[in-house]
């Protein structure tokens, strides 16, 4: 009994799911249950975007203290912009557009790591500088008319399968792949080892630079895919479409129970945290709070969640 409880409570993502369910109930109570399906679908859809970028960010954060990718929002914007431009509303180009996005992710990831490695600067500064450059490219590419996504792609991103939004299914598949990568493969062991002690990892024969490079590429590719989907979902790319995902990608990772000190990561938690973050905002909307109150409460809830759930898990 005691062991079972310890087992359960040793999983930090339990907390984010518990909080999600509470917020969901509170919101549904207000509307008298009328909108529970809509709310759940919207939550799944918007959470899916956070999940996709969150997973990438989580891999990077797992690499240990100081590892973070601030170029996520700029990458999303540029990817959405370029892909829609290339596809030019033609259904036949959907796959080509996706490939372009992925390729862009590769380029950004390599660029990020080249800066980190060549200039020996902390990732936070390297990815920040990189994001400035990407953002400028996006501004330059975004000139002119707003281009719509191809119809088929727009339909796909906005419709459901058995009541579950397609976007959420995509995110679920990506999460499952990420989970296998993290829990079952050598690569997963390697990033965890690097996160705990880079030098010890090096001395056990782990190719540290190669592994880190792959991780930064992975993060940028996921951000690119997310930008591609988000631009298609919202009917076109906008310059600020990625901006809220900077803080969001970090918040969902940490609220989800991934250790910020590195070495320990958690994919189910990202789902819990992403759903939670969306539901909190919609709950406050439902209750008619103004923008100011909504921000304050969002902030306090983040702190409260991390206060209750996150204590001492970093195990420093």
């Amino acid at each position: 009994m005691n062991a079972a409880r310890r087992h359960l409570f040793s999983r930090p993502w339990i907390w984010s799911f518990a909080a999600t369910i509470i917020v969901w109930i509170v919101t549904v109570l207000f509307t008298g249950g009328a909108s529970s399906l809509d709310l759940s679908q919207a939550a799944l859809t918007f959470a899916a975007f956070s999940v996709i970028v969150g997973i990438g960010q989580m891999f990077v954060i797992t690499l240990g203290p100081g590892n973070i990718d601030l170029s996520v929002p700029a990458t999303m914007t540029l990817s959405g912009t370029l892909a829609l431009k290339l596809m030019d509303v033609q259904d036949g180009m959907i796959i080509v557009g996706l490939l372009l996005s992925i390729l862009l992710g590769f380029a950004v990831g390599i660029g990020n790591y080249v800066l980190i490695k060549l200039l020996r600067i902390p990732p936070i500064i390297a990815t920040l500088s990189m994001s400035f450059i990407i953002q400028s490219t996006a501004i330059w590419a975004n000139r002119g008319l707003r281009i719509k996504p191809p119809d088929m792609l727009a339909d796909f991103t906005t419709s459901n399968l058995f009541g579950i939004p397609n976007i959420a299914i995509v995110a679920l598949i990506l999460s499952a792949l990420a989970w296998v990568l993290l829990e079952k493969t050598i690569y997963g062991r390697w990033i965890s080892a690097i996160g705990q002690s880079t030098f010890a990892a090096r001395m056990t024969g782990i190719p540290v630079d190669g592994t880190r490079l792959v991780t930064y590429i992975l993060c940028a590719v996921l951000a690119s895919i997310c930008g591609y989907l988000l631009a298609s979902f919202s009917g076109g790319a906008a310059l600020n479409m990625g901006s809220e995902y900077l803080l969001m990608s970090i918040a969902v990772v940490v609220i989800g129970g991934t250790a910020v000190a590195g070495g320990n990561s958690n994919i189910p938690g990202i789902w819990g945290a992403s759903l939670f973050m969306f539901l909190v905002v919609s709950m406050l909307n439902t209750y008619g709070f103004g923008a100011g109150f909504r921000l304050i409460l969002t902030g306090l809830i983040i702190i409260a969640v991390i206060f209750v759930a996150g204590g001492r898990q970093s195990n420093r």
């Binding site: 200039l119 910020v260 100011g292 902030g299 306090l300 702190i303």
Partner: protein, 313 residues
């Protein structure tokens, strides 16, 4: 002669600043005047203060992602309450500083990651700012305006203020016995604890001090811009971190340099002015800023290598 690693850490950002300044003067010789310098470094003072605040947080191995929203909040308070009813304004600032100390306590007690707690706080400060000033407005208190726009003889206000900030914080953090404790916590918490100090008090004090400098930053900013809005200083979060790093500070280990941080802030401000002198298309302004950041960091790496080679010889 042996040069200490602290001096080296200062030398590199100073060289970057001088190099950038030389480039600006070369392109725009008219900038080499009282008015020119004032224009170049106009916005440096609030950024320098915010950078010092961030540096304090980084000295105890934390990171404040709410710096930008907090400075915006302080700017809003300055443009509203501090202007209309100074007593209330001061009271708000005191409670904001107390809140910073409380954040330090919470982070320490529960061993929470500072990035996440301050991330949450950035929403809180942003919300409070929006409540106070839903749309841009307010008015700078006369004295703040006077202070920031005064024209001391020979040297522009921005530079005088930067030097004062650099020297004052250098004394406070690098020379005073209390500053040693702050950096000690960053360097080795356990050793500070074992020596019988209350680390929680040191951390709370450091956060409060950081809050104080951020408040000054908000006031200085409104003194320059005359009005405020809830998003006025959002970019300060990243600018302040970049400033500390450019100034030779490090993310962990309590290795910081106040003079370097101020120089870093000046460099970043100058980079902005440099771009407008270059007549770079607005599309590429942000990108060029990123490029400058990269160039300066590459320069720092190069000088570091040079120094290391000297050392090993």
């Amino acid at each position: 002669m042996k040069i200490s690693s602290g001096t080296i850490r200062l030398l590199i950002p100073a060289a970057s600043l001088i190099l950038l300044l030389a480039a600006v003067f070369y392109m725009q010789p008219r900038a080499m005047s009282y008015t020119g310098l004032n224009l170049l470094f106009n916005l440096a003072v609030p950024i320098a203060l915010a950078t010092v605040a961030q540096m304090l947080i980084m000295a105890v191995n934390d990171l404040d992602l709410s710096m930008g929203t907090f400075v915006s909040f302080c700017a809003c308070v300055t443009a509203t309450f501090l202007q209309s009813s100074p007593a209330v304004g001061v009271l708000i600032f005191l409670s904001a500083i107390a809140a910073y100390a409380a954040i330090g306590v919470v982070i320490h007690l529960r061993e929470l990651p500072s990035i996440v707690v301050t991330l949450g706080m950035s929403f809180v400060w942003g919300g409070l700012a929006v409540l106070m000033l839903p749309s841009p407005g307010g008015e700078a208190p006369g004295w703040a305006r006077w202070l920031m726009t005064s024209r001391p003889p020979f040297v522009p206000m921005a530079i005088v203020a930067s030097v004062v900030i650099a020297l004052a914080t250098h004394f406070l953090i690098m020379r005073s016995s209390a500053g040693v404790l702050i950096r000690g916590v960053g360097g080795n918490v356990r050793s500070v604890e074992r020596a019988g100090w209350s680390v929680i008090r040191i951390r709370a004090g450091t956060y409060a001090l950081a809050g104080f400098f951020a408040v000054l930053s908000g006031i200085a900013l409104v003194g320059l811009t005359t009005s405020a809005d809830a998003n006025i200083a959002l970019r300060y979060t990243l600018l302040s971190i970049a400033g500390v790093i450019l100034g030779g500070g490090e993310f962990v280990g309590g290795k910081v340099s106040p003079i370097g941080a101020v120089i870093g802030a000046l460099t970043l401000t100058l980079a902005g002015s440099f771009l407008s002198f270059m007549r770079i298309s607005p599309d590429w302004q942000i990108g060029a800023q990123g490029a400058i950041l990269i160039v300066v960091l590459a320069l720092r790496l190069f000088l570091n290598r040079l120094e290391k080679r000297e050392k090993s010889r």
